[in-house]
């Protein structure tokens, strides 16, 4: 499989093609089988590739495969090639594995939708483009995948296109992502100018043998960060993620939690040799991540929509990962990516079960008392909540503490404090959500249905199990399977030193404090929300500020969107119509009043026109002949 990894990439594309071309002849069952089948097969292929790769000596654990030449022009050679190494494999496993579970879950969740086939065509397209993003062996095809996941995300956020809010959200997501795309676009230009190549291998190699100026490296890494920030919904391009919740919930689970939004983490991890060369760029990454983690966590405390609250937590958790990779703790960041994929996909699926049972209701204020009605969902959501809150024994605890402990070990006290504060808030808002949904008595109007069908529950439970046990891949002081798996990828090029932490160097102080704060967060949430009716927050200004997400949307609208539209309108009305056009047409009118030639031309008779042309041409030629 390792030598033919293009099969893994192509399978979901085949699914898209089959469903969109033969869609009308396929039953819903057949569509489901095709869509889930191709992703399931891709997962099995990825597992096989992972096993093969593990069998290779570490220095050979980066398998490249060039498929065709995209542009060959003078000095520019860009091929379409794939790279399979531990970093891409980890992402591929999550994309196809979690992706498969979410495909299965979608069969139930989208079962009644009139555009069932279209949905699966999109979802397979997303898997294809996401695999392309992580499997490409050069920056250009990374960008192709990067744009492709943006497209799939756009289509799926706006899937219920008859809702204006969904379509507006889709556009917002796409445009903000295009800003990020432009960042990567420009980064690629600088990379090409500096190293005359866009392939990872050559660029990462030349970055050390023929270093570019420090300023150039900083510009490259900051521009890449711009792309990462847009895709991973980090400050200041984070606002689209909340609106993206307009999409179907399995989409939120897959694209806006488990996979696509972590592409920024992938990008920084993939480019570690570049970030190693630019301490400024790396610091910026870490600071953006830390700030996003904390800011999003505060936003999460005030949301009333269950999916928007989860979106805030996604932004916050990705903030942790971005901070980790910015600090060079690549294994820790990627480990958190893995556990987050489990528990956040789980939380979204459980939320989807609730929304399914309540006939589309997403407002936490209209939930409550669902524990008895939805027992499986209750236990699953609890597992996810415990995991994300960092309660010992659950997966999030291992990955978050690995991450925070290393941050403190490396002496980044401020970022560590930010991370710990966010951990407290995380436990608070997650249990707030949990209590509002499940404890107390039911506050909604619609009569809740029972538990979701089995096709939705089974994937939920599988992820619940993973959310609990997934953390034991790294047991502090004992083993570090993730680090061992990833280590070869960080030995190919310079700059990977320290990517994998020392498993025997456990920071018990950090662990103790963050566990205590997580428990404190749980305690506060328990006091305020357990078995209580909904009550507005006592500080209206603050809660409104948080609920409105610090008014970023309003700010961007006032500063960027409306002026651009207005500028266009002004140019259209004044500059184009009056000044330029008026001037030119005024001239024409002047000419017309002077002579009758133009009126004659305008008569529309072919003969006259032809005659004029002929006479004119003849006159010019005659003049020329005699003159010469």
């Amino acid at each position: 499989m390792l030598q033919h990894s293009w099969v893994i990439l192509l399978l979901p594309l085949v699914g898209t093609a089959v469903i969109s071309i033969l869609g009308r002849y396929l039953s819903k069952l057949a569509t489901s089988l095709v869509a889930c089948g191709v992703v399931g097969l891709a997962f099995l292929g990825t597992v096989a590739a992972a096993v093969q790769l593990e069998g290779l000596p570490p220095r050979l654990q980066a398998v490249q495969e060039v498929l065709f030449r995209w542009i060959v022009s003078g000095p520019l050679h860009i091929s379409f090639g794939l790279l399979v190494d531990p970093i891409s494999l980890l992402f591929m496993l999550v994309i196809t594995g979690v992706g498969f579970l979410i495909h299965v879950y979608s069969v139930g969740y989208m079962g009644e939708d009139k555009n069932f086939r279209l949905y699966f065509a999109y979802l397979n397209l997303f898997i294809f483009t996401m695999l392309l993003l992580v499997m490409a062996n050069n920056f250009l095809w990374l960008l192709v995948g990067w744009g492709g996941v943006g497209l799939a995300s756009y289509l799926l956020i706006g899937f219920w296109y008859e809702r204006p809010s969904a379509v507006a959200a889709a556009i917002k997501a796409f445009v903000m992502n295009v800003i990020g795309d432009v960042g990567i676009f420009l980064a690629i230009f600088l990379i090409y100018l500096s190293f005359h190549s866009v392939s990872y291998n050559r660029v990462f190699h030349l970055a050390y043998t023929h270093p570019a100026a420090a300023g150039v490296m900083t510009a490259i890494t900051l521009l890449l960060l711009l792309g990462a920030v847009a895709k991973s919904a980090q400050l200041p391009l984070h606002t689209w993620l909340f609106d993206a919740m307009e999409g179907p919930t399995p989409v939120s689970a897959l694209i806006h939690a488990a996979t696509m939004v972590t592409a920024g983490v992938y990008l920084v991890a993939r480019c570690y040799p570049l970030y190693h060369l630019s301490p400024t760029g790396a610091t910026a990454v870490a600071v953006v991540g830390g700030a996003s983690a904390l800011l999003a966590a505060t936003i999460g405390t005030a949301q009333t929509d269950i999916k928007r609250a989860l979106a805030a937590s996604t932004m916050s958790q990705i903030g942790y990962m971005i901070m980790a990779v910015g600090l060079g703790m690549y294994a820790a960041g990627l480990f958190h990516f893995l556990t987050h994929a489990f528990f956040k996909a789980l939380l979204f699926m459980a939320a989807g079960n609730i929304i399914h049972a309540l006939g589309g209701e997403q407002d936490l204020r209209k939930m409550g008392g669902l524990a008895k009605r939805l027992p499986v969902t209750y236990w699953s959501f609890l597992a996810g909540t415990l995991a994300i809150s960092g309660i010992p024994g659950f997966s999030g605890f291992f990955s978050k503490d690995e991450l925070l402990g290393q941050t403190l070990n490396r002496g980044h006290v401020v970022l560590w404090a930010v991370g710990v504060a966010a951990a407290f808030l995380t436990a608070f808002y997650m249990f707030r959500m949990f209590f509002l949904a499940f404890s107390g008595s039911y506050r909604g109007e619609v009569h809740p249905h029972g538990e979701a069908p089995r096709v939705m529950l089974v994937p939920t439970v599988i992820l619940a199990v993973l959310a609990v046990v997934g953390g034991y891949l790294v047991l502090p002081g004992v083993w570090d399977l993730i680090g061992n798996f990833l280590a070869p990828a960080f030995s190919h090029w310079h700059g990977g030193a320290g990517a994998v932490g020392n498993p025997h160097h456990v920071n018990w102080l950090s662990m103790g404090i963050s566990v205590l704060l997580a428990l404190a967060g749980f305690g506060v949430a328990y006091q305020v929300y357990h078995r209580r009716a909904w009550q507005p927050a006592p500080w209206p200004f603050l809660s409104q500020l948080l609920y409105r997400k610090y008014y970023f949307d309003e700010l961007y609208d006032a500063v960027f969107v409306r002026p651009a539209v207005r500028l266009g309108a002004v140019f259209g009305a004044v500059a184009d119509r009056l000044v330029i056009d008026g001037g030119v047409m005024g001239l024409a009118r002047g000419v017309r009043t002077l002579g009758n030639g133009l009126v004659f031309l305008q008569s529309g008779y072919v003969r006259r026109y032809a005659l004029t042309i002929a006479l004119g041409a003849a006159a010019i030629l005659a003049y020329y002949v005699f003159w010469a």
Binding site: W70, S73, E162, I171, V175, D181, V182, I188, V565, V584
Partner: protein, 483 residues
């Protein structure tokens, strides 16, 4: 093999009178047009297959004496710059005939003009003699005037007149410039003139005159206002060719004649051209955002896109020039698709006013999807044709003009914004009751589907095009850096 080009250019000339004579039966004149356009396409493809890629210089050259007294020869030939444009033109001419399949009113005249237009367009990209070039240039202008003036929308007279005034002015200036070149160079032969040295004042005057001619045609802001009017009023197939091919005559002339004959002047002028390019990109995008007429939107979007070609030309690195040539092809295809889609939407819904449209996706899904594909290509989605062209342009121009390139890249964000905003308003959302007509049949969707397929093909595998373009363009390149 020189006859290939002669035949490709001449075939529609033979078909035009046949169409005109068949005019009594409204459904008949389209058939000669279909036959000649497919014939031209087949001959152009044959020319491309005969063409030895990877080599600079003219191939498939033919020279026939035309006006011996003046030394004017029907001198045709193609190189890596003109061949892609020839292919694109022949392809668009054929799709345009398909898009005109339903024309019944004065159809004899209609297909007469349409085929004459094809002769002009195909001729411009193969002419190697300035007089012949001018002849074909005019031959493309006049049929377009009639297509707009006779089959156009409510303000067709105004639009056709304005089109004729502007481009006619450009033509006069161009012709005078050619006469001056003939006087000092002793010939109209382009390849000879490329090796002729002219006195500096002559160079300056001719260069300025020629640039004015190209600037009107391209169009370069502020000489662009004929374009939105012409587009809005023109019948759909004429819009397709106007945006797809006629605008490219300006940028083609810029590269082939201005850069070919006056390289040193062109290099000196490049920084100015870069500024004009950026103005085009941003101004066009901002105005596109403000349009309420769908065709007006695509018209201003075209002004914006032509800016990327100018930017590539100004940068002058091999890469940027290659991208500029491919962008001519890519924009030709995608603009034709969007104008066709706008025309179909108009026909379906009875209006092109964006605020009055909505929910097209439910009513006409295939049309909606193909339009969306066009819009995505237009905004430079990686993997589609425009990206394959813009990427080298930016890569090349970034070396020469980093600031302008960053500004131009901002145009991409604006483009994504207004195109998706438009798609939101007309494709998505709840359906409007105004539109009641049934969805278009398969025959109507065929040209749209062909264009969409071409966008994917060029985007996924542009190497074949660059293989053609590269060697010819590298002869003209002068910029350093990412050469």
């Amino acid at each position: 093999m020189g006859w290939l080009l002669l035949a490709a250019v001449g075939l529609p000339l033979a078909g035009a009178p046949v169409s005109a004579l068949l005019g009594r039966r409204p459904a008949a004149p389209r058939w000669p047009a279909l036959v000649t356009s497919l014939g031209s396409l087949a001959l152009s493809v044959a020319a491309a297959l005969t063409f030895r890629g990877g080599q600079p210089g003219m191939q498939l050259v033919s020279r026939l004496n035309w006006i011996p007294a003046l030394g004017i020869r029907l001198h045709l030939g193609v190189d890596g710059i003109s061949l892609p444009l020839l292919l694109m033109t022949a392809f668009l001419a054929a799709t345009t005939v398909l898009a005109s399949w339903g024309v019944r009113r004065r159809s004899g005249e209609y297909f007469f003009w349409l085929q004459l237009l094809s002769v002009g367009m195909l001729g411009v990209f193969t002419a190697l003699d300035l007089f012949v070039f001018f002849f074909f240039f005019e031959l493309a202008l006049i049929p377009m005037y009639f297509l707009i003036g006779l089959w156009g929308g409510p303000r067709k007279d105004y639009a056709a007149m304005k089109f004729l005034l502007y481009t006619g002015l450009g033509s006069i200036v161009m012709f005078l410039a050619f006469l001056v070149l003939r006087f000092y160079g002793g010939t109209f032969d382009l390849l000879t003139l490329e090796h002729t040295r002219f006195p500096v004042p002559v160079q300056l005057a001719v260069f300025a005159a020629l640039f004015l001619a190209w600037a009107v045609k391209t169009p370069v802001v502020p000489l662009h206002t004929w374009l939105p009017d012409a587009h809005v009023e023109a019948p759909t197939p004429a819009s397709m060719l106007l945006a797809g091919v006629l605008l490219k005559m300006g940028t083609y002339g810029l590269l082939r004649i201005s850069l070919g004959i006056f390289p040193a002047l062109f290099h000196a002028f490049a920084p100015v051209l870069a500024v004009l390019a950026v103005v085009n990109i941003l101004y066009g995008a901002l105005l596109a955002m403000a349009q309420t007429d769908l065709k007006g939107l695509v018209a201003y979007a075209s002004i914006s896109s032509m800016g990327y070609i100018l930017l590539g030309a100004a940068a002058g690195t091999g890469l940027a020039l290659e991208g500029a040539v491919l962008q001519m092809v890519a924009h030709g295809l995608v603009a034709a698709l969007l104008f066709l889609a706008a025309g179909d939407i108009h026909e379906l819904a009875g209006t092109r006013a964006i605020p009055a449209l909505g929910g097209l996706l439910t009513r006409a899904p295939t049309l909606a999807w193909l339009s969306l594909l066009g819009a995505l290509c237009y905004l430079g989605l990686p993997g589609l044709a425009v990206f394959a062209a813009e990427f080298p342009i930016f890569l090349g121009s970034f070396a020469a003009f980093p600031t302008y390139t960053v500004l131009a890249a901002a145009g991409i964000v604006l483009t994504a914004g207004y195109l998706l905003w438009t798609a939101q308003r007309i494709l998505f959302g709840p359906g409007r009751e105004a539109a009641l007509l049934p969805a278009l049949g398969g025959m109507r969707l065929l040209p749209l589907a062909l264009l969409a397929a071409s966008l994917v093909a060029v985007g996924v595998y542009p190497t074949v095009w660059y293989h053609l373009i590269g060697p010819a363009v590298h002869l003209l390149a002068w910029g350093g850096g990412a050469r």
